[in-house]
């Protein structure tokens, strides 16, 4: 047979049907985008471009990772419930203390508290599952993380709306303060983890990744109750820009990915040690293979590095528009460079010299410490132009 005939055979055999679900998903995203465009005007050209870009990315993401379709629709519906309830109470922000659904479920603070609780419970459940090897327990833990992420997204969307309800001048996307970005961080990290959990078909790493998320939740709770940081504050002039919508989320894809890599590194080290002591170790048997963990570390660090590069470049471009220079050796900028160089080195050593194993796992963990300093330490201990998130 001719080559062309073979080609035709292959094509017809592997035809992927364009399902009803695909069409529904695309329609859902487009309709929501149109709703946002018409309802929430006052967007300048750049912000409309960001809206369209988000829609396209969301359509792609939903087709690439179908679970995101469910998360998006559920969180969208819950947000709609919240917004509708507010609307029925005259769009008064005080409704979050009186209206039932708002007070106990979907006002931004309620949703965030649900998120916090579920993440902590998930951490415990994952470790119980690791201990008793129960698939059911694992599934429960994973479900908790899905639910927590959904609540987190709802919390952020509703908070976005609430900022406008308090005062139209106050309205902003909720990624502007240390409190708000911590919510973004835990949601992003959890969702990215869930993707890898599905892709590699292993839940054993859940507890480890949830540890860093629980630590972040601990911080969120302290910050809320001790410093009342959850109160919505308006934006200072320097933050009133469309750049915030792209620079900050890109950064948190980076931070989240690096955190996952670090926790898997820890899991790797524990598993390797357990194997060295006892090659038949039952603990190691419950964990995925060292090779798999090593591969996931590489994948997450590559993803994080790619987005961190984008975020740093966007930050420089924003700085050039706001402060008159794309690079001022400001402590935050400088530490971002250090984090970037650190992971560039990690990737170089792995890709060029072919290093694997324990050393890289340690390095991934230390990378998280450097990242944490760049994320938090700079705001807490050093001064500079970036001190929006002071404690």
């Amino acid at each position: 047979m001719q080559k062309e005939t073979y080609l035709d055979e292959f094509k017809s055999a592997e035809k992927k049907a364009f399902t009803l679900r695909d069409a529904a998903w695309i329609a859902f995203v487009i309709l929501s985008t149109l709703y946002a465009w018409t309802q929430y005007g006052h967007m300048d050209g750049y912000e409309i471009a960001i809206l369209i870009g988000t829609a396209i990315s969301l359509i792609w993401l939903g087709r690439f990772w179908p679970s995101m379709q469910t998360v998006t629709v559920v969180s969208g519906l819950m947000t709609a419930l919240a917004l509708w309830t507010y609307h029925n109470h005259g769009n008064a922000i005080t409704a979050n203390e009186t209206a039932f659904f708002l007070r106990f479920l979907v006002s931004s603070q309620s949703a965030i508290m649900w998120m916090n609780t579920l993440f902590v419970l998930a951490t415990v459940t994952y470790f119980i599952a690791l201990y008793n090897k129960s698939d059911f327990t694992y599934k429960t833990a994973a479900f908790m993380v899905w639910a927590a992420s959904t609540f987190g997204l709802v919390g952020m969307f509703v908070r976005w709306r609430e900022s406008y309800l308090i005062n139209t001048d106050y309205g902003h996307i909720p990624v502007s303060s240390l409190y708000e970005v911590f919510i973004l961080f835990v949601v992003m990290t959890a969702l990215m983890y869930l993707y890898y959990e599905q892709r590699y078909k292993t839940r054993a790493l859940g507890g480890f990744v949830m540890l860093v998320i629980s630590a972040a939740v601990g911080f969120i709770l302290w910050y809320t109750f001790d410093k009342e940081a959850h109160v919505i504050q308006p934006l200072v002039p320097a933050l009133q820009s469309y750049w915030m919508k792209i620079h900050v989320p890109a950064n948190f894809v980076g931070y989240g990915a690096f955190s996952i890599a670090a926790m898997i590194g820890i899991a790797y080290l524990i598993t390797e040690k357990s194997l060295k002591k006892n090659p038949e170790s039952s603990f190691a048997a419950r964990m995925p293979s060292l090779e798999l963990m090593d591969d996931v570390m590489y994948k997450t660090i590559s993803l994080g590095f790619a987005f961190f590069t984008i975020a740093t470049v966007l930050g420089a471009m924003w700085a050039a528009e706001a402060w008159g220079g794309y690079w001022s050796w400001d402590p935050k900028e400088t530490w971002a460079l250090i984090v970037w160089l650190n992971y560039a080195a990690w990737l170089h050593i792995r890709m060029s010299k072919g290093w694997r194993g324990a050393a890289m796992s340690w390095w991934a963990f230390i990378g998280l410490l450097i990242t944490t300093f760049a994320f938090l330490g700079v705001n807490m201990f050093l001064s500079g132009l970036h001190s929006y998130g002071e404690l």
């Binding site: 047979m1 292959f10 504050q233 220079g325 794309y326 160089l341 700079v378």
Partner: protein, 696 residues
């Protein structure tokens, strides 16, 4: 990078070796040691570590502060050591820039050395590899087949193409055929883009750096100005003319003002940059949130340049700069632009009411001659709003969390010896504990917080009564006359005793005025025998209270609040008296005896502009875009090669039943070697085997 080079080098020699065994393996020229070193990974890593450590130091040590601040922080010895290492201006230090330049050279050398082999690798299919070579690939397998060669070849080519490979077929002399597939060539582009982009970014950054300025400084043509002097006193060596390639500096322009220069911070001081245009600030506006934080601030600017027919009018705000040619003008900050002040200066020790009327403005220095010496009054700043957290009662009343205490002026009073007191005076009275006070803060060191004196406002919310009262206290003779008038000598007391009493009252008043109740206590402890101190203290305090009350009543009488000294006084007036005494007691710690009261002011704001000229910006952006694209190619495009080699058997296998026509060898290589590679390879092999078994 050396490792990749060796790998590529080895690949090359492997290919050529196997193909033409007689030819000597291709050798590169005998490597130039110096170039090798320059392009080596070790050098790059060392330089990057130096860069990282220096950068970290720069974040921990506050950069570009005044030299005195460092001496205060580290002591003269270490401050000097750190300074000579350039640690206080790390990012502009010569050695830092040299590290960057070396990195640039190192990356360039590396890229230059590797580009040819990478480009070659991207194009070649290696279809001429022998079967033995294929069997040495990381993934390979072989099996027998009965399908004829042409069918197999067509199917193999179609299969690879369906999977996205570009194919090339090679016929050998011995009749065997290799179908070579290549996919994901752009991965190599990823390597090239990422490293070339670093070079481009560094070049752009160098273009925007102060390298040229450093060179001019080294050759003696440039000198930073470190003194705070007026523009015409600044030497020529500190001026930069308009054709300076790149700069970034700032300037404050008061409303109604104009500027055509800029200040660039440089080393320990600054340089003056001439601009080829002038900018006028016609209006500046700040808006605040109800929390007291600034909501927005913007300036209306008029840019005039010789080449422009009409001046450009534009409004700039934070995040919305004005772009003109290759200059950018940013709204960076704001401040006071010389607010006009109409002041009344009260001499606190004067026995008469005669405040001095003084008209001045912020940024001026006024000399004052007083009985206590000559002083210079430096008016530094004016703040329209002072937002503080509201007290609980106020919050309950207004429902607002923050409270505006109103405008303040900040100024320094400096005596002839150079010692200065800094003051912060609130122009309007503010409510504390239910009463209105004029707050005035004083301190002698920047690091201290202000200590406040609270001058109670009278019923008309003014300071009049306070100064009337104070003036009386400053005049002990008049005070004594007031006593005599109120409490004339009567028969029960002798002349001598009456005189003694008057003298005592006078003395106590003077003591009190000088240093408050403390002053009286000190006097007692030094002049009165210990066993009598308690009794005397009680007596003196009674007397001074009495004296002060009399003076106060007289003040009220003169104000026509009460007809005579026997009238009742209101609760407000009683409390006012206590507050006034408290204020007067603290006068000794207030510094030079002057109180500056602002009767009127006209606010003039100034806008803080940042102006930059960065020719390298577009280069850096282009390099950044290349970097991002390169990173995505590098991670998400895998370069994969597959070879399907079909070797027909020279004669049919006579012994077995099935006739085997050929042997198929499949090999695959991924330049990343991930777990996916093996999976995909196995899948491919399965498909081929399926096809072969089906059509056998």
């Amino acid at each position: 990078m050396t490792e990749i080079n060796t790998q590529a080098h080895q690949e090359n020699s492997k290919h050529t070796n196997q193909n033409q065994p007689s030819q000597k393996p291709k050798q590169t020229k005998k490597p130039n040691q110096f170039w090798n070193f320059l392009g080596s990974m070790n050098l790059a890593v060392t330089l990057l570590m130096m860069l990282s450590i220096a950068s970290v130091i720069g974040t921990v040590l506050k950069q570009n502060q005044a030299p005195q601040d460092y001496i205060v922080q580290f002591g003269p010895f270490w401050a000097d050591v750190f300074n000579s290492l350039g640690l206080f201006h790390v990012y502009g230090a010569l050695w830092f820039v040299l590290v960057l330049i070396f990195l640039l050279i190192s990356t360039s050398v590396c890229v230059t050395r590797n580009t040819p082999s990478f480009l070659k690798d991207m194009k070649q299919f290696s279809e001429k590899l022998s079967r033995t070579a294929l069997q040495h690939q990381p993934n390979n397998t072989s099996f027998e087949t009965t399908i004829d060669l042409e069918k197999q070849q067509n199917h193999a080519t179609a299969l690879l193409q369906h999977k996205g490979y570009k194919t090339r077929v090679h016929q050998r002399d011995d009749g065997s055929v290799t179908v070579a597939g290549l996919k994901g060539r752009w991965n190599r582009l990823g390597y090239l883009f990422t490293h070339i982009s670093i070079i481009i970014i560094c070049l752009g950054a160098l273009l925007d750096s102060n390298l040229l300025l450093k060179y001019r400084e080294l050759t003696g043509n440039l000198q930073a100005e470190t003194r705070a002097v007026s523009l015409d006193e600044i030497g020529e060596k500190s001026w930069l003319d308009a054709d300076n390639l790149s700069f970034r500096g700032s300037i404050n322009v008061p409303e109604g003002g104009k500027t055509d220069i800029l200040f660039l911070p440089y080393e320990d001081g600054f340089l003056v940059q001439q601009l080829p245009f002038s900018i006028e600030n016609t209006n500046f506006r700040v808006e605040y949130y109800d929390t007291g934080m600034p909501k927005s601030f913007e300036s209306d600017l008029v840019l005039t340049a010789p080449e422009l027919e009409e001046p450009i009018k534009a409004t700039i705000a934070v995040n919305y700069p004005l772009y003109y040619k290759n200059y950018a003008i940013y709204q960076s900050s704001f401040g006071d632009g010389g607010t006009k002040l109409n002041l009344k200066v009260h001499a606190l020790k004067s026995p008469r009411i005669n405040p001095l009327n003084l008209d001045s403005n912020i940024n001026s220095v006024e000399p004052l001659k007083t009985p206590d010496g000559k002083f210079n009054i430096e008016f530094n700043d004016f703040k329209m709003h002072n937002i503080v957290p509201a007290s609980d009662e106020l919050m309950a009343q207004t429902g607002k969390k923050m409270h505006n205490n109103g405008p303040t002026i900040i100024f320094k009073v400096r005596n002839e010896q150079g010692k200065a007191w800094e003051y912060e005076n609130y122009i309007a009275p503010s409510m504390q504990e239910g009463r209105l006070f004029y707050m005035t803060g004083v301190r002698t060191l920047n690091s201290e917080p202000f200590r406040y004196m609270f001058i109670p406002a009278d019923e008309n919310r003014k300071t009049e009564r306070f100064f009337n009262f104070l003036t009386l206290l400053n005049n002990p003779n008049e005070s004594v006359q007031i006593f005599s008038a109120q409490y004339p000598k009567n028969e029960q007391i002798s002349d001598e005793n009456y005189q003694l009493q008057q003298n005592l009252l006078k003395q106590l008043l003077v003591l009190f005025r000088a240093r408050g109740y403390e002053g009286i206590k000190d006097f007692i402890s030094t002049n009165v025998p210990a066993e009598e101190q308690e009794v005397v203290t009680k007596y003196y305090f009674e007397q001074v209270s009495f004296a002060l009350q009399v003076i106060y009543l007289e003040t009220l009488k003169r104000e026509e609040v009460i007809p005579d000294h026997d009238s009742d006084i209101s609760e407000f007036n009683k409390v006012w008296f206590d507050d006034a005494l408290r204020a007067i007691s603290s006068l000794s710690r207030y510094g030079p005896p002057m109180y500056f009261e602002v009767e009127n002011f006209t606010q003039i704001q100034s806008t803080g502009l940042q102006i930059t000229k960065s020719p390298g910006k577009d280069t850096v952006y282009f390099g950044s875009a290349m970097l991002i694209i390169g990173v995505f190619f590098l991670f998400y495009v895998r370069q994969r090669r597959v070879w399907i080699h079909i070797k027909p058997n020279s004669e049919p296998n006579a012994e077995s039943d099935s006739v085997s026509n050929a042997e198929v060898t499949i090999a695959a290589k991924d330049n990343k070697n991930l777990p996916e590679t093996t999976k995909e390879f196995d899948e491919l092999v399965d498909k081929l085997k399926q096809f072969n078994n089906k059509n056998a």
